[in-house]
Symmetry: D4
Subunit: 250 residues, 8 copies
């Protein structure tokens, strides 16, 4: 039912030509697919205050700049992930405010900083090779208005480094724990804290790591309750979910 | 927005208290989740004239009879698939019209036969061990109002049996082709006819058949265009899709 | 039995040296492999009116042009899929009528447009990264004589976009639904319409998408009946099968 | 270093035989494995107020009752999951307060109800066969002090049922979304709400569902951000993680 | 083209009403699917002199006896594989000549012994748990008219047992080599002899043997040329292929 | 070369008919497969002092007793693994000295205790459900003449239990570390000690543990060097390898 | 036992100091690993008359030429497989007799043609993209002294092309059947002939072909007995095995 | 508890203000995460005397040189594995003592040679293509202070080469056995010796070797006890574990 016909119906109601009862019946009988004016506003709410995100992998620098231009024209902040060095350079040329986060292979353009959530998101990773994924999570969490603390290279083969930060871990509202290879770190961390742990397997490793499959399976089978898992290398997704958790307390 | 509030709004429109323009705006601003009266009627249409179906696997005879009773109370036809011998007996005791299709491990109760579609659905299978799946497809297609022809044990290792029925295959509107082991039959059939071929892998086989995985992969990789695939052992689903195709011409 | 011997046999029949009865017996006893002149004409029928197709992936521009030249010499239309930019340029230089469908990575050369089927093939895709596969399906369906409508970027995470086109989906004779990642779109679509849905998983995604395996498995396990599946990224195959379905009503 | 030696050291300090400086050095040089008195109290905190849990699968009724007796002797609440009918009966005989949650295959014994968290945990499932896993999540969440609302049989093939509860979903603090087969529900739900979604794949399905692998992969590849995943059939784990999220706001 | 029309054509040729040239053209233009009398006699030749085979797994004793009765009515020999003890007893009751090969889980009924091939088929297996598959191969090869020598429990962890039979291995025309676990035996054997080696992986093992997958992959990757492979536990198939090789020299 | 011909050659040497030089040449030219008397005595050495082992899984009590009788007739010790309760009872009836190790599902019959190795083999397991595999390792190691210390239920989610035994771990010569689920324990242990760690994945778990595959992959990808891995549930194999390591120092 | 000690023993025999009987006992008691002079001449026999083979994949042109030079210095024929265009050019420059088989990506250098086996090896392939593997098989078979006939592009989707060559197939002693995608051709061929069929899966395909896995599984599960399988793309191995079969009749 | 507070506590003890008893209680009640001075010295011990290791894969020459400079500044030896030719050149320019081990793709810089362990580590590989992994193991074992003997190209298809070195194998304290393809070598070797065998699968192979998966599975399923396994291509890890074993005797 398009707008014109809706107006006609209401005009008829107003004119007394269509009794209210019948108008209700007609409106009730509308199948969803007739309601061209309907909108799911949950979706918009969902995005409220969040930056727009470009997944730059597989796009040319020119394509990314073009999409970025459209986004920024409408105001708002921008996050581009999986950005090559060339694309980063192109974005910085195009937008003077753009900031390149090398470790994270990400670029951000911030127009208006979001109000910060009170809770802290802790981002840990097991080895130095896991840093890119952890950094993507950290940059994402920060631009989404969270306070972020990072703890890199605290893998389980050197427990002392992990135990040394135990108190800081207990201060976090959510923990994003990134690990490749055998993916054991989230289990150990979830045994030390009583907060939600989001585990991110990375594709770091070779041979029987099968591109992160080993770490993914380990995390899904964590003996420590309270661990949930996202896709391999999905630092962005972990930070997004962590933000939803962190906002929940507001 | 519940019905009461809708009536109030329309009453106000009729009374001239709310201008049409504003009523339109209000109705347009309704998020879908406010429309508690909305219904997706596509779904009902979808089921129109189809029998209700009980997937009996993992249910006790008593449970199946109970569900069947509810269905048949509202009229309509009934199809129960993956029925054990005990469940079949229970259904026959409870519903005198019930018919047990042994090969298909299915039971049907037909109240009112559907008008038959003009097109023929041909159901083929490669080996005798594939018959249960093929028979499930045949019984399903028939109760859904299709004319069905079955050709069993026409596997590719004995081409003569397949070539002997070539003309009959050409007369079909859709072909459901069931095969386990190497799953080669759909490719060969799709090379002989110019009609849609729905391939059904079966879990028949052992060792590297991996419960039908070998046949499934073979069918997905068919060198003959025009083949689409359903899940392993899913004779019902193949017949359902074939019915949608066969009805299309109406 | 070669032609010479066949002629001899018939000469003998004509001369009365071999009784008809015995000639029938001899011809009947011919094993298929003796019939060197036999041909399966089903195959030709199958191709009737269809364009010749070149799968250009892994071929050099020169090879593709050469094959295209052979095809076009015999008249008919041409469809080249998985065409690189270089190959597209080479084809356009060689054949002035050639048209490059960038989105689809396809080139078509149309000599004589096929008569259009009455039914509509709807082609949907979930995300913008799925467009190449969807576009391949659309171009293929069109050159095969179908009316095609495309609906891109209507993934399940934004239901409103999908519901907005519900009425148009209901108007289609067949639906080709393309999706990567979790491959959920075909299930949702098949719940909205009562027409055959051909699901095409794409290799879009990373990590545990395993090159489209995740989407493929999801589609094979669709809870919505009426869905059949083709190989990962096989837009062409989906369109081919859809054409067979669409022609069926003729 | 055992207690005796620690006392000796401190005695020496007190007696002035060991200067403070040197005692500090000695204590600092203690390797963690020398500190037999050390304890990780994070772990205890973690369990605070939570019921003790028995995973009953693979244990005899007698074994479960024995473990339960030990737990209940120390006060506290008890949750037994994956409980057979026989084990449930045995528990009820042994502990009059025991309650058997049939749908969830769980038994609870509640001594002292925990104070309720303000937030709501919504538990959804796609099909009726997914109910056991969803019910396990619901029972777990409830005994851990959460307010729980359940929405069963709201799969994506019948969108109207899902859209009808949209408003209630928006009211939840966390959502546990359970689905087998193609595992599409979490993606759709995460597109409707802006809260954390914990996806639980179930082993429901056959053939290419590979015991829940298809649903698991789909959920890991969700196109909707904000989804995290637990192991197949792990309703308990999802509720545990949801509780950690729900408590976070306190 | 049915027989009647063929007779008419030949009658017309005889009567001089249809010139030979045109009759040839007509016969040549016959599509295979018109040749209802055509038969592929290669298939029959293939079976010539071979026993009929019943794959008894998943069939009841009564079913197997019934099939056996049909086969033996037409003369010929019978081989039933994967026979349970009950089925074996039933066959022996029904057919006094039946012989139960316990190790092989096979029953044979021999009416007329086939003339023996001159070549020897050697059947080896690695461990005692592989014997059932090896024995199935041996019984099959024997009933198909081959001279068979068996060498059991000659696995690679005890090379001396294998080297002790080296001379006998060299005397074989074909070797069927059966192994589970790491499946190394065929590689070692193929390095000792210059005859065709057919490798049979068995499902013997546990854990990462994945039901014989480990042995299967090992055999497919054999560093020793001349090894070909059949499906897991397929002793029958290996013997069948070996027979084709052994007959080749005749 | 059989014995007769060897005697002939030596006779000829003795008689001076064949010069030593030529005899050497002839003997050197002997291919291994001619040496029917050759034996690999390395194998026997390997077994020296070890008990004979029966893998009882899949064997009837009677079969196991029969094999045991044969072994014990020749003296020596006996170890039967994967023993059912019935088999254990049968063995105890047959051999009064037999001892049933319930946890390990093993039975031992010791005639003459082996001299003990000086080094200690530590056997750890992560959870109580891993105990059967750990106990099999412990029983095996003990009967093979090692001093064994066991530490059960010291999984990574409760680090304090693990750290509490750190000093004892450092005293071991080899460590066998058993874990199911995410298989993280060996990585953590190998980071605490400087001795060889043999990791044993167990099939404990469900869903995405895939029968121990998750733990196996985790262990193969251990970030801690010094870890080697055996097959899933292979407690026996781990103990066997540990014994070889422990004996090495003698 | 080194040569010196052997000479001493024989000297003692000749001198009558060691009785023949005792010398025999000593020689018999030699463990294989003492026989430093032993050699397995089966291996050499195996290679007799065969060309030396270089697997050129992953080697530089210079490396291949160097290995080839060493081989050809000792006489004999040479086969280099998986040869790049650069390597082929380098070989032709270095060895004037070298012949580059473009289709097969192989180079041969023939010094002395082997006597031809009487039997024919037929090499078939399903599609044009399978030709490289089939051609590798053909070139290999030919240089190994077999008569070879090739039949390319006879896939199962166009049965007429396959049936047209049926008689020629029946004339072969062994058949090497190459196919990618669904790998159905070997099953169909093995149903038409009574000779050994060696199936070669190729990595041709995309998506769910998983690099040839689909074809491999299909072939292992062939419903037609008499099929054995080699590794994906292993044209060389198939030809090698076929040669062993073809030589067997000599 | 930081150092200041620890000093205060001890001062109070010394001053008699805090009784020893209470001080003990306070120290005992310290949770590990309060002990900021704690350190796990097991880890340091573990590394004692070992070289620092750089895994150079995926790092630029400049990055590797920079890390190396830091390491060497603190004294000690250096091992860089998976080094490209460019990185090797850069290291040799930067550190004159650097030695490039071409076969192993490794560079070592040795400041002070470690005292040699008495035991020998034997490193075997099956084919020439496995040499890089074997050489990495050999270089690693040597720089860690072991005596190393290498035996390359002793695969199971040519047993004579393996048997020829049997005596030398028996002299080793540990054996590292490297093999790709079917991975059979460790089983055969473990049958010849009574020492620990560490098996290293390599990614050598194609098709169904699945990047070393076939060899890995074979090794995990070895029928010869005493074999343990490391990750695919992990020569370094095998040597590290072997060193731990070899040091054990000290």
């Amino acid at each position: 039912m398009n707008e014109t016909r809706l107006i006609e119906l209401l005009d008829a109601v107003r004119a007394g030509n269509v009794p209210v009862e019948r108008a209700v019946r007609r409106l009730k009988s509308l199948a969803i697919h007739d309601l061209e004016f309907a909108r799911v506003d949950g979706h918009r709410a969902l995005r409220q205050g969040f930056p727009e995100v470009i997944y730059a992998d597989g796009k040319t620098p020119a394509q990314v700049v073009k999409i970025a231009r459209t986004i920024l024209r409408h105001g708002g902040n921008l996050l581009a992930t999986r950005v090559s060095r060339d694309t980063a350079r192109a974005l910085k040329r195009a937008f003077p405010r753009a900031k390149h986060h090398r470790d994270a292979a990400a670029v951000t353009v911030i127009r208006k900083r979001l109000p910060q959530q009170p809770g802290i998101i802790a981002v840990l990773c097991a080895g130095t090779t896991d840093i890119p994924v952890a950094a993507e999570a950290a940059v994402t969490a920060e631009i989404m208005g969270n306070r972020v603390k990072t703890f890199y290279d605290v893998g389980v083969a050197g427990l002392h480094r992990l135990l040394a930060i135990n108190e800081e871990l207990l201060a976090a509202r959510v923990l994003v724990v990134v690990a490749g290879m055998e993916g054991a770190l989230p289990s150990v961390v979830a045994g030390l804290v009583d907060r939600p742990v989001i585990a991110v397997p990375t594709s770091v490793g070779y041979g029987a790591s099968f591109g992160g499959m080993a770490a993914l399976l380990a995390m899904l089978n964590s003996c420590a309750s309270g661990v949930t898992v996202v896709n391999i290398d999905n630092g962005f997704g972990a930070a997004f979910a962590a933000t939803r958790i962190n906002r929940g307390g507001a």
